[in-house]
Amino acid sequence: MADQFQGIEPMVYQSKINVPYSWWAGDTATRFFVALRDEKKIIATKCGACGKVFMPPRKTCPLCFTANTEWVDVSDEGTVLTFSVARRQLAAIPQDRKVPVIWGLIKLDGADTAILHYLDEVKPEDVIIGMRVKAVFSETRKGTIRDISHFKPVK
């Protein structure tokens, strides 16, 4: 550090980027959320070319690069492909979730790709890859991914 700055205690300026966002879900995701909210149903799009069923539903098939026109129902039960357990209350974790928080990558029966969600009603130590889980729907549903409260082990 140059002599000219000796004895100078650097200042820190506290700030925050405060920009509100309204993300348009688009027709495809909206249809998914409406089914979730109003019928407690999980639906997905299917590629007409390769037959893949996408969760979350995709408007186009990323590999065939064509529009997905077909909708199919998928099960509210599936298999845990992998999981993660937060032990530290990391800043991104929502206020209403206290550690340990468990997330699972869950492949629902009838879908070819998996979604992220919470695993609950299970101890972290008891979660294993390959375990079967079932969706628990939220009491009040607003048309968001949290209309599913979490997934719990299938007894």
Partner: protein
């Protein structure tokens, strides 16, 4: 050896103020599909993808990674360029380098923005130094007002002179089905519209837009096989020289002057006013349509207002500017510079339909952003030497 580079296809969304029917990836996909169709290529033909937007307009980190379902980037090289308002033009310049390097035969370039998803002014304010400019300065409009005031003081122009530019661009937009604002306006409409920041009225400035644009560039090895009349890139350049608003020479756009001189010199263009056939300028407000053509070297300093008033830059005039309707009719920011490039390419390729300028040999497209920055491309019908 470096390769010569041409644009072989372009695609745009029908730009709107709000596109609630699609998310960002889906919006991108519309432009990409149209560009592929225009070039008669499929995603398999594309060797790399270059994408850009401005992060804080959508609040999505690592957009290049997030958008692959829409961009077609799954298992391909994807990189992101972002330079503020210049983003779209910087992307086009980047595509030119990536193809020119010989590393990629065909590159897909995507610029997009969903400005409806955030507070545009709030996000732009965060572009300025958090300790200095950000605290005393709000959004893009105040910088532009400073430029307009300085220009009027230096050269005696009026807000009526500027309004003429808005009238022109909005008239041109009537010919462009992709433009957002397609309604003609009069000088009186502009002058009677609400004052945003003296001397800038509401109808002097660009709108907020949701839109995406995709451009496909190919090297000289295949360009003419893909497209009988490709748009050859003759030169590119960028000057992002200022970081603080107080650094600028207000009333002149130094970045434009420097980049134009460099490109015209390289291409052997001595009299741009005579040799260029059309310009698609990133002109976010009307005064820029007077000031920046002076800095580009089309006319002398202070001569912009008369040149525009005489109709020289209208369709059918000596040097039509913004046949697309330009930024005043449509501004999905991260796409805007690339739309200028695509529109210039369409003019050279003869694909501009109702907004076609006859016999275009040379076209210029520009990008504007950052702290009075300019990016620029020179397009031509002939293959460069």
């Amino acid at each position: 050896m470096a390769k010569r580079v041409a644009i072989v296809g372009t695609g745009q969304t029908f730009h709107k103020s709000h596109r609630p029917d699609v998310n960002g990836q889906e919006l991108i996909n519309e432009a990409v599909q149209r560009a592929l169709a225009d070039a008669n290529l499929t995603m398999k033909d594309i060797n790399a993808i270059l994408i850009g937007n401005m992060d804080h307009f959508e609040g999505i980190n690592y957009v290049d990674c997030w958008s692959v379902d829409g961009s077609g980037g799954v298992m391909k090289p994807v990189i992101k360029i972002t330079t503020g308002g210049t983003t779209g033009a910087s992307l086009a310049v980047g595509g030119y380098h990536m193809v020119g390097s010989g590393m990629f035969e065909k590159v897909l370039i995507i610029g997009w923005e969903k400005n409806s998803e955030s507070d545009t002014t709030g996000a732009i304010t965060t572009a300025f130094d958090p300790i200095w400019d950000r605290q005393v300065f709000a959004g893009a409009i105040s910088g532009l007002a400073a430029e307009a005031q300085a220009y009027m003081a230096r050269y005696g122009a009026s807000d009526r002179d500027a309004a003429r530019v808005s009238v022109r661009d909005r008239k041109h937009a009537m010919n462009n089905p992709h433009a957002q604002l397609r309604k003609e306006i009069s000088l009186e409409d502009v002058l009677a519209s609400p004052m945003l920041a003296d001397p800038i009225h509401l109808l002097d400035v660009c709108p907020r837009t949701d839109g995406a644009c995709a451009v496909i560039m190919a090297s000289e090895d295949t360009a003419e096989k893909i497209c009988p009349n490709p748009d050859w890139i003759w030169g590119t350049g960028a000057r992002h020289s200022y970081a603080y608003l107080g650094d600028c020479d207000w009333g002149r756009l130094t970045s434009m002057e420097r980049v134009a001189k460099e490109i015209f010199k390289k291409a052997g263009i001595k009299e741009p006013r005579k040799e260029l056939d059309v310009i698609e300028m990133y002109q976010p407000y009307s005064f820029a349509g007077l000031i920046w053509i002076e800095d580009m070297g089309i006319v002398g300093h202070g001569e912009g207002p008369q040149y525009v008033a005489d109709g020289n830059t209208d369709m059918g005039g000596e040097l039509p500017i913004n046949p697309s309707g330009g930024v005043i009719a449509c501004n999905p920011i991260g796409a805007t510079g690339l739309i200028r490039c695509a529109e210039a390419a369409m003019q050279v390729m003869g694909k501009a339909d109702a907004r076609q300028v006859p016999d275009v040999n040379y076209a210029v497209s520009t990008g504007f952003g950052g702290c009075m920055w300019t990016d620029m491309l020179l397009h031509g019908k002939k293959k460069p030497n």
